[in-house]
Symmetry: C2
Subunit: 360 residues, 2 copies
Amino acid sequence: TTYKIAAIPGDGIGVDITDAASQVLNTLAQAHGGFSFDFMTFDWSSKKYLERGWYMPEDGMAQLKKHDAIYFGAVGWPDVPDHISLWSLILPIRTSMNQYVNVRPTRILKSVTAPLAQLQKNRKDLDWVIIRENSEGEYAGQGGITHGHGPNAIATELAIFTRVGIERIMRFAFETAKLRPRKKLTMVTKSNAQRHGMVLWDKVFYEVAKEYEGVVEWDKMLVDAMTVRMVNKPESMDTIVATNLHADILSDLAAALAGSIGIAPSSNLDPTRSCPSMFEPIHGSAPDIAGKGIANPVGAFWSAAEMVRWLGKGDLDKTADQLMEAIENVSENGIRTRDMGGESSTKEVTDAVCKEIEAI
Amino acid sequence: TTYKIAAIPGDGIGVDITDAASQVLNTLAQAHGGFSFDFMTFDWSSKKYLERGWYMPEDGMAQLKKHDAIYFGAVGWPDVPDHISLWSLILPIRTSMNQYVNVRPTRILKSVTAPLAQLQKNRKDLDWVIIRENSEGEYAGQGGITHGHGPNAIATELAIFTRVGIERIMRFAFETAKLRPRKKLTMVTKSNAQRHGMVLWDKVFYEVAKEYEGVVEWDKMLVDAMTVRMVNKPESMDTIVATNLHADILSDLAAALAGSIGIAPSSNLDPTRSCPSMFEPIHGSAPDIAGKGIANPVGAFWSAAEMVRWLGKGDLDKTADQLMEAIENVSENGIRTRDMGGESSTKEVTDAVCKEIEAI
Ligand SMILES: CC(C)[C@H](C(=O)O)[C@@H](O)C(=O)O
Ligand SMILES: CC(C)[C@H](C(=O)O)[C@@H](O)C(=O)O
């Protein structure tokens, strides 16, 4: 099988780590022998936008649709307002490609020192999968500004929750929890203060929960109290489901608690498989270290492993695990970038991971 | 001077800790000699609501307005949906009483063990004041549900940002930062994804910032990345300003990182002083330990200290500091509730703090 991958390196360190990821993915395919990748690179970036005035061409989505998966680096650059760059690239891809689920596995990789004292002693206490609603909620994109330039300016953000949207994310979350050893789901909400949309969120959750009675254990948290529980009782949670914005915040916190934002992966999935899914590290474009060759490629590799898992539909799980093992071995051998306390360059880590894959 | 205080114990441990706070406040006034408190207690609670069908009487706000300050325990009870209880009591008070600022000081009290390894070594690295916009944004209360009972249900939450609302909170934040030793303000936003209201938030921030050039140093963070910075570089921040929802989440995280949600205070301020301001610990009603006499009263005492500070308009700062000193001494002497690793009851901690106040 040859998997067609649309690679969008984007901005800043997105370029460095997408290169690194494709090198690792090719090595993995070669070592395995049973499949290969056909990468097509799309130069949709802020730099190009400043040159030519657009991020994606008009048929951009149609081009992406011809691929089996999308690999995304990062977007965001100081010379372009963030809301322009993001709403021209990553956010419309998520919604146009029906990627209504964003999955963010979080655990403390071997050799990583986590910042919480408890987790320095008990690394395994933190083992979460955060399921983020990825198509509506606070990222629906609706709202506007009136009297924008005067003293009476008023601006709105409209969060939209639909029964269809909530039901499908809850079902995905329960299915994920069901397959995990602990079979446990924590649902996050803010329905005490947000009394319209979030109340529907709760209601649909309770309905779907009934279908999983006796199969998946669940509890419910307010988003503010959730941060406290993540810090104090990481071992009490497993699968977590939250809205687009809440999960955005909680998953960054999760990555920090797991030791580094530079290693955290995310998968934007269309569970119906009618569109290609998209895989991206959760870190940003990091303009301050862009082009210096020192970006941490681990989040990119972990995202690549999740892409392999998704493409294989169960057949390549072992291969994805091998990539994860290679990442952890290299890190344990001290070959790490600076953000992880090491001194290695992106290239050194990448080459070491490739060598490790060949050796496994 | 006699300060008229409207006390609303509310639900669960709100009752225990409001009792404790009034005992401590009376002791403080007696020890000082120059002022006293006249408490009027309002039995507005979920229990009463279940009996009589309402939380506040129709003239509730008018009654509150006759006081110099409001002391609030907690609201929320399992038998009443949270969005009913909160929108019947705490949230309308905040908006009706023009309390457009919520202030949440956060530091690690002596004798508290914080969960981050870095902060166990360097307690003083965490010293923040979180300024929360308290009157609009995601808590504007607008939105609704259509087709609520069918498969096409759609619900919305409308966040509203006005220039007036943003400008006044930014100005308060800069004024707060200006008086702090480090003179530093971190502004939090999510204007990359929330491209209408949050863009106005940013714009007004930049305008107000110009007035403080050379006086207050500032930087800007996205709310998701902010959680990472709070975990990794607590020492890099001082005063923080954020929206109603963002600051709600970040201040709970802050309290957890500072060692306990049970000790964190909050002040709901009307800086124009046309209405009474309200003081409440940030913890909730904790139904699981309500009535057991084991609730941690420290958050309530710290909130009481902030109330004294506010009422004194600068004249009672030393008295408020004495209360804080008493709290810390008692805690250092090992008289702590369970959530802080001790074995003392609410009453034991309260009596010890009173004794300490008399001794100082
Ligand atoms: C880049 C940005 C729009 C994005 C988001 O907020 O979704 C990022 O923070 C993420 O978590 O993927
Ligand atoms: C009780 C609830 C409405 C409240 C809020 O969300 O504002 C609480 O979490 C707080 O932080 O004061």
